[in-house]
């Protein structure tokens, strides 16, 4: 595509700008959630403090 050299018009591209921050956030959050879910899957066996979940319904 040829464009006159004086035309420098763009919208902003926040997606690409944000990749260095957004992608790591997704990866880190994903890893932590993965670890937590995996632990819950295999760890529904009784534990020393008797609780099985740290769900939203209160402290374990």
């Amino acid at each position: 595509m040829t464009v006159p050299p004086d035309v420098v018009v763009l919208a902003d591209h926040s997606f690409w700008l944000a990749v260095p921050a957004f992608a790591p956030a997704v990866v880190v959050a994903g890893v932590v959630v993965f670890i937590a879910v995996r632990n819950r899957r295999k760890g529904d066996t009784p534990r020393s403090d008797g609780s099985t979940s740290a769900g939203k319904d209160g402290a374990p």
């Binding site: 420098v8 018009v9 902003d12 997606f15 690409w16 932590v32 632990n39």
Partner: protein
């Protein structure tokens, strides 16, 4: 210089390929480094992170998982605040950006929001060996517990960052919305604003673990606590920024409501948590924060000027009410404070607004302004009361009541906002204008205007504003922003008080806001090949229809997008936002649930896990 940007009208442009490769690579490296550090720390294969945490723990007299994340958080949120204010001013002065990396303010926002997420993640990752960071801690694995504040902080940071990709999609579908109140923009600023509550959670969890025998906080630490509530206040004020810069694109009745809402939440909680004088001190520190940023942006960086609400009147109301026995019933105290904030507090604030703001409040604003502000302030005040209870370890009301108050607050704010968003454009009304050339400034043509509305009675006696706004004229030309309130010389007949710019890249328009009427008439709009917009010339004489302001101020928006798509977009953003509010409420409830019933005693660290 490696990039040449191209105009791509319908798509709104695309980033240069070299930029994309660099940014993606940076993203991958950052992700790998973060995960690696976290993993190595948890496997005890590196000790420097733990050492750093221990050092900051000694320094700030808090557990490592509070001290280090909070230090990072404070730095990040101030960075984000500065970037945000500067970014808005650059957009007002310059218009759209020339490419992803062309706007220096974006770096500060991005690094700041990322820092918030990393700070939250740090609080999650730091506790080792099954240490339970407080009785409310969230179990990740059998020997890994995370503080609630850390989880909520990371969540808020994530929500804010989520705004970036959604924003990009939004712009591709709907075109650019050159307003702060684009739904995805609200996610970014809201995530950052509300993350301050997570910092307060983290702080209180840390204090509980430290126990009653912990050394008393010195002046510096006390200041940080006040700073936290100044942060909550500033964070809750981010929605007002368009008013602060004098380019409000929505009806003026929003402004008192937004001020009252922020004051209700932050000042009530500050007073309950930090005691006598805390509301006033938080307001003063917030003035300092906003003042420093405003000073950097306007005189130092020569960008458009922004003001900010002082909150001294509302703080005074809260302080006075707190002298009564009401304080013993925090939710009621919050609600009554909200009532006071939404009335007397706003009146006191209006003295400041009318003194310095570009658009003062006319008397006609009060009936509807109060109708919106009072219910909202009562509800956010009640929420502030509950926040104060969480932070002081008082038992919250029953779960249904607590959740009900938060839900009702959301509904009341939603209802008030829905009313505020309604506006009318006069049908079949026109403006006849005569422009008279004035001496050029910076080589740019300037004119004065003589404006007649047809019919003349389309404007009432007490309109919110009849003004000229020029913006996006670039910073080197009068900072790229021009405002002139027209002088009334007869029925429907107004004249300029100073010459307006009508050349170069300026977009200059006549703005009309009169109660429910919100409309505009273009005077001069620079041509914009990037979006295929023709120049609207400043003819010496013209008659133009009064149109919806959004078609001029946001002419980057793509027309012809089906309403259903718009609705879907808004719903996605709404769901994300409700999730964030639910997360913050969950955090507060969870911390509160782990309190020993009916007392303020601090729990010893639990070693039962």
């Amino acid at each position: 210089m490696t990039t040449d940007f191209v105009a791509q009208g319908s798509e709104g442009g695309g980033a240069a390929i070299s930029e994309i490769i660099i940014l993606t690579a940076v993203g991958a490296v950052v992700a790998a480094v973060l995960v690696w550090i976290g993993w190595m720390h948890r496997q005890h294969k590196i000790t420097w992170l733990a050492s750093l945490g221990d050092w900051s723990a000694r320094r700030f007299k808090r557990p490592a998982w509070v001290a280090l994340p909070i230090a990072l958080f404070v730095a990040s949120i101030i960075c984000a605040l500065f970037g945000f204010i500067w970014d808005v001013s650059l957009h007002i002065g310059n218009g759209r950006d020339n490419g992803a990396l062309a706007n220096p303010a974006h770096y500060f926002i991005l690094i700041g929001l990322f820092g918030i997420f990393v700070a939250g993640s740090l609080a999650v990752v730091l506790p080792l060996n099954g240490e339970r960071p407080g009785p409310a801690a969230v179990r990740i694995t059998d020997d890994w517990y995370a503080p609630v504040g850390g989880v909520v902080m990371a969540g808020c940071g994530f929500y804010a960052l989520l705004g970036f990709p959604l924003d990009d999609m939004w712009h591709r579908i709907f075109g650019q919305d050159v307003t702060l109140w684009g739904p995805t923009h609200l996610m970014m600023i809201g995530g950052a604003g509300f993350s301050t509550l997570a910092a307060a959670y983290l702080e209180i969890e840390g204090k509980r673990v430290a126990g009653p025998d912990a050394p008393r906080d010195g002046v510096g630490l006390k200041f940080i606590q006040y700073l936290a509530f100044a942060g909550v206040l500033v964070g809750a004020s981010v929605y007002q920024i368009e008013f602060d810069f004098g380019v409000p694109q929505f009806r003026q009745v929003f402004q008192p409501m937004l001020i009252a809402a922020a004051a209700g939440l932050a000042l009530v909680a500050a007073r309950i948590f930090l005691g006598r004088g805390a509301a006033l001190i938080a307001a003063v520190i917030a003035i300092g924060l906003r003042g420093i940023v405003a000073f950097l942006v306007a005189p130092v960086l020569d960008a458009p000027v922004n003001w900010f609400a002082l909150y001294l009147g509302p703080a005074l109301v809260v302080e006075i009410l707190a002298l009564t026995p009401l304080l013993k019933r925090p939710v009621l105290f919050g609600a009554i404070s909200g009532l006071g904030i939404g009335t007397i507090g706003l009146w006191l604030e209006s003295l400041w607004i009318n003194a310095v703001y570009a658009y003062p409040w006319p008397t006609s604003i009060w009936p509807e302004g109060l109708a919106m502000a009072v219910p909202v302030a009562v509800m956010t005040g009640a929420c502030g009361g509950m926040l104060g209870m969480v932070l002081t370890g008082q038992r919250l009301p029953r779960r249904a009541i607590g959740v009900g108050i938060v839900a009702l607050t959301v509904l009341v704010i939603g209802g008030a906002a829905a009313n505020g968003l309604r506006y009318d454009v006069p049908q079949d009304a026109t403006v006849t204008a005569t422009l008279t050339d004035a001496p050029p400034v910076n080589g740019q043509r300037h004119v004065t205007a003589d404006v007649r509305f047809n019919p003349p009675n389309v404007i009432s006696d007490n309109p919110n504003w009849i003004s000229i706004l020029g913006w996006q004229g670039r910073l080197e030309n009068e900072r790229g922003q021009f405002i002139d309130h027209l002088e009334k010389v007869g029925p429907g007949h107004y004249v300029s008080t100073k010459p307006m710019p009508v050349a170069g890249e300026w977009k200059t328009l006549l703005r009309v806001h009169d109660g429910r009427t919100l409309a505009a008439v273009p005077i001069y709009l620079a041509g914009d090949p990037g979006i295929g917009a023709q120049e609207v010339p400043a003819d010496p004489q013209f008659q133009r229809p009064i149109v919806s302001e959004i078609t001029i101020l946001q002419r980057e928006r793509s027309p012809d997008i089906p309403q259903s798509l718009w609705l879907v977009g808004c719903l996605i953003v709404l769901v994300c936002t409700l999730a964030m509010i639910a997360g913050i409420s969950w955090g507060g409830g969870r911390i509160n649930n782990s309190e020993p019933s009916g007392s303020e005693t601090k729990l010893e660290p639990s070693a039962q896990a």
